[in-house]
Symmetry: C2
Subunit: 404 residues, 2 copies
């Protein structure tokens, strides 16, 4: 029996039906970009650890500069220099300064830095300060960047370059990250041959194993190709049994109605609860199968590359993130469509498109071509989403676009 | 002597001063996502290789269905079935059809497919067709997806998942990709200690080696950390000599004017032409040094993490792409700023910000905090660019934003 859900219902069903989470492990910090932080990053100490100068100049007590002007400079005694990476050689007493460089440690008694541009050295050990500074001026105070105990990054955060920098700043050279979900990829269909084989009459090369493997990697998963399974119930079932050790299984192919039945039948035979839905009200990619067996998710995608890609991006990518404890970030991109797009009410449509910038605004040029062509997604760089509650879009309408 | 360029001038100088290109090599297709295609992908054959059905139904000669209606169906003879992955068992002669599944090979004499929904089987070998089909209906013809000789992807293209799929479709299980540029990263400064060390008084952990390493990886390069060099002319020079075997060298640190002079001096001492500019009219990141020695690029970035990040994204990332033969894709993102931003005319300003979607529009909330704080780039997800020819922006203005 064919249960067709809306895209929203289907996504919720996928995310709420799977409670599985991957494990975690330590990784060298240099290999952690793009990985999912397994535990919140809480600062173990202040950053910086001491008051630092942000300018080259003189560490002063601000009060000693009050009222100083070019005509009436404050004359202060230079009592030495703060060397980089060292404690100040002395503390500051009234009327004294220490030379300091950007990043240098402020001496005791000093609460501001006068930029060298506003000073003039007079003789051996006197500096004329031509401008007053306020307390705190040209200084980063201890803990101003990060405070001890502050939660800088939550668990589930996907590490960016600046996060790697922050981890280093706090003394970490390893990160505890979620293991990448292990994903089995199976292509089905009597017509399929491996890409390295020369197809005979009626045969085609398996595209989806490679397409999906790349998509899985991009979504933070670890793909394993389990090869091509013919349209045969027994072989399908034994392939699924082999795939059960993975965190997620993606089948694709079975473009005909009969072949799809093999996929659904094999998932149901494998165990409980089996197939949870079979069909999503969207185009392309309507005949999408989702099932759960012993807590593990199984997807059956269309053999058409574009359909498989849309199904992956809408349902499998968010699940792979969830398996690793991360969340999808909201898609921020909207673009105006160049021409009218017609869509049947009651389903979501995804049109392949080229998006580009015109006078500071994003525009999307829809591409012709069916979902069974790989070339339209190669020529395109985005998918335009026409939502379910609309019957299309008019030229100039602003719609959500997904970069591909 | 300090030569300060505009951002545009500086970028052009960087890209035109370096002619170096990395080599190329074969990589398994499954490892090629994100890599730069070294040679154009030209289709060696048509795709599909034969006319294929896009529906389950009957392969027909369209002319045999003309005028067919539910009241007056065309009665045609079923002469067998096209099996998936095989040649059709017979050709079609007038009045005949073959059963066919989605993806099946059209028999000779057939130019369309009637969907099974519009047919009814009568007896053993007769089918009633209730609707006419046009020639070409429900069929992808040979070469409709990709034509033999067609240039599908240019050299320099960065491979996406769909491109990996297209390569598989054309029979490739390896890709010829540009070697990743090898990048040496050096941090300078007497105050720096490695992240795993506990800083003493006046010392700080080296953030930039890790931040830049991650940025290099994200830009397709292969980073190598050469460690921390103290502010010492001889040690700096010998570090640069060691780094000369790399495709690109990034120094950072030397936040004080004196330390910056060491960097520029060492590049000049290393060889010709030496430093090409020293300073870019932007904030943060003004004291950026760029030099070329024996055709190799050398960058001196500020020690402030945000400054270093801005300098990297504006100048080094495009160069790393160019070294691999790729081009930067234009940045498509624009957002409205939440509040007024003031900027001195004559320089570009990059404000750290959080961008978010409000009623289908992108907005940017600028973050407070100086360029010497790592936390503002950790809390932010974007940089707002205030162009050089403006004196700031007003709340609601739409500006370019760079995702970080």
């Amino acid at each position: 029996m064919l249960t067709v859900l809306t895209v929203g219902e289907a996504k919720e069903k996928v995310l709420t039906s799977v409670r599985l989470r991957t494990g975690e492990g330590k990784l060298p910090l240099l290999d952690s970009t793009g990985r999912v932080l397994a535990r919140a990053l809480v600062a173990s100490h202040d950053l910086p650890l001491f008051n630092r100068s942000t300018m080259d100049g003189y560490a002063v007590a601000a009060v000693d500069t009050f009222g100083a002007t070019e005509g009436m400079p404050a004359l202060l005694e230079i009592n030495g220099e703060v060397l980089m990476g060292q404690s100040p050689p002395a503390k500051i007493t009234p009327g004294q300064v220490l030379r300091i460089s950007t990043g240098g440690m402020l001496p005791e008694g000093s609460d501001a830095v006068v930029m060298v541009e506003y000073t003039e050295v007079l003789g051996d050990s006197t500096v004329a300060v031509n401008r007053s500074v306020a307390p705190g001026e040209n200084v980063i105070v201890k803990g101003e960047d990060i405070k001890a105990g502050e939660k800088l990054l939550p668990a589930g955060h996907i590490l960016r370059s600046q996060d790697i920098g922050a981890l280093a700043a706090l003394g970490y050279i390893e990160a505890i990250v979620a293991d990448r979900p292990k994903v089995a990829i199976i292509s089905t269909g009597d017509e399929l041959v491996m890409p390295e084989q020369t197809p005979g009459a009626g045969q085609v090369r398996d595209i989806n194993s490679y397409l999906l493997s790349s998509l899985v990697t991009q979504a933070g998963g670890e793909p394993t190709l389990l090869g091509i399974i013919p349209d045969n119930a027994d072989k399908m079932l034994s392939a699924l049994e082999k795939a059960q050790s993975f965190d997620c299984v993606i089948l694709s192919g079975g473009s005909s109605a009969g072949a799809r039945d093999y996929t659904a039948g094999a998932i149901d035979k494998l165990g409980k609860p089996g197939v949870l839905f079979h069909g999503v009200s969207m185009r392309p990619g309507k005949p999408l199968i989702f099932g759960v067996v012993d807590g593990k998710p199984f997807f059956g995608l269309s053999g058409n590359p574009t359909s498989a890609m849309v199904g992956f991006l809408l349902f499998i990518r968010p699940l792979l993130l969830q398996l690793a404890g991360a969340h999808e970030t909201p898609n921020l991109l909207r673009a105006r469509v160049e021409r009218n797009l017609s869509s049947a009410g009651g389903r979501e449509d995804y049109f392949r498109a080229v998006i580009y910038n015109k006078e500071g605004e994003l525009w999307a040029r829809p591409l012709l071509g069916q979902a069974n062509l790989i070339s339209t997604v190669v020529r395109g760089n985005a998918l335009i989403r026409v939502p379910q509650n609309s019957e299309g879009a008019e030229a100039g309408d602003k719609l959500e676009v997904i970069l591909i």
